[in-house]
Symmetry: C2
Subunit: 201 residues, 2 copies
């Protein structure tokens, strides 16, 4: 509780609390975080947290909302940059998603905590995203650029899940014998994935 900062700027204070909370929740999960530690980290009093967010639960929801909002808009932006559907673009989308997760490890952990809670909210949020991606695959299929005997949603799901799990379970498989670097794995995944989704001549 020492070393507090008075800003008298409610918005800034909210952000400071949210930032600190996000870091702690990502690191330790909801129930392991103590409000006292959070207050210390955000350089505010515990009471101020309650004043701005009501309860620990509500703060957790606010943290998730903000983070998923950021994720969603980032992905939306990436999607809108995409051009005509073809195989090369699918490849670069996978690469972009993989690198996004590599550069935003917090997102992966936040998803993981949320999944374990059984919260389906974050999944519903990107219905739109997946719908657009699947539609994009469907168009490529119709043009004969991707094989047509596969559910487009599954194509999206497969690469999203692979990228996610790579970073989520890194501590698990990083010591496996013969396991390569991020880039080496991505390269091999793309070899398999791209070969698997393009039609045989």
């Amino acid at each position: 509780m020492t070393n507090r900062i008075q800003t008298r700027d409610p918005e800034l204070t909210r952000v400071r609390i949210l930032d600190a909370a996000e870091a702690l929740f990502i690191e330790q999960g909801f129930s392991a975080v103590k409000l006292s530690a959070l207050a210390r980290s955000a350089e505010v009093t515990k009471s101020l947290i309650h004043h701005h967010f009501g309860s620990k639960e509500q703060l957790w929801e606010a943290v998730k909302d903000r983070a998923f909002e950021r994720y969603f808009t980032a992905q939306m932006a990436m999607l809108e940059e995409a051009g005509e559907p073809d195989a090369a673009l699918l490849r670069s989308s996978v690469e972009a998603y993989f690198h996004f997760l590599r550069d935003n490890p917090g997102v992966v952990r936040l998803f993981a905590w949320t999944h374990l809670e059984g919260d389906s909210h974050c999944g519903e949020l990107d219905n739109q995203l997946v719908g657009a991606g699947a539609e994009w695959v469907r168009q490529a299929q119709q043009r004969g650029l991707l094989r047509q005997d596969i559910n487009p949603t599954h194509v999206i799901a497969l690469f999203v899940m692979t990228c996610t799990q790579w970073f989520e379970a890194k501590c698990h498989h990083q010591h496996w014998p013969g396991m390569g670097t991020d880039e080496a794995f991505l390269e091999d995944f793309l070899k398999i994935f791209m070969e698997g989704v393009t039609p045989r001549d």
Copy 2:
């Protein structure tokens, strides 16, 4: 604390505690579990838990040890049933692993909690498993049954990760538009995966 059972059989009591603890830890994660609730669920006193396991932490370790031991032996058994390396066997291995996780959802959650803790112990445990699997892929590569420009460990990792994430993040993607059933996804994954790992003629 009502409704307790005295067995005077330490081994049975340990198992009762471990079973109850496993269920609760899988459901809620380490820090959300209260020893009092666990005692109630296992129909023992809190003190008895401390008597047999020392502390909550040590109990958690014991739960993980036992569960991962079971997982490891189950996988080892599946591996030893496998015959000559070829593409058909790879396919059936993926199917077997997928169905194993489907039938053991607790394992998936336990892995997820453990990953979030950054505990690499469970990953090291299956070094042997992955090593054997990769060696098996390598042999198939040498016989020209699988394409040779891919790291064998990555082949194993890819399908393990995909199966894991499918069940781990089910609450996330189950409402995605166009998403199919377990079997439909497995089917599509196998189409892509098998096409991706077998050599082009």
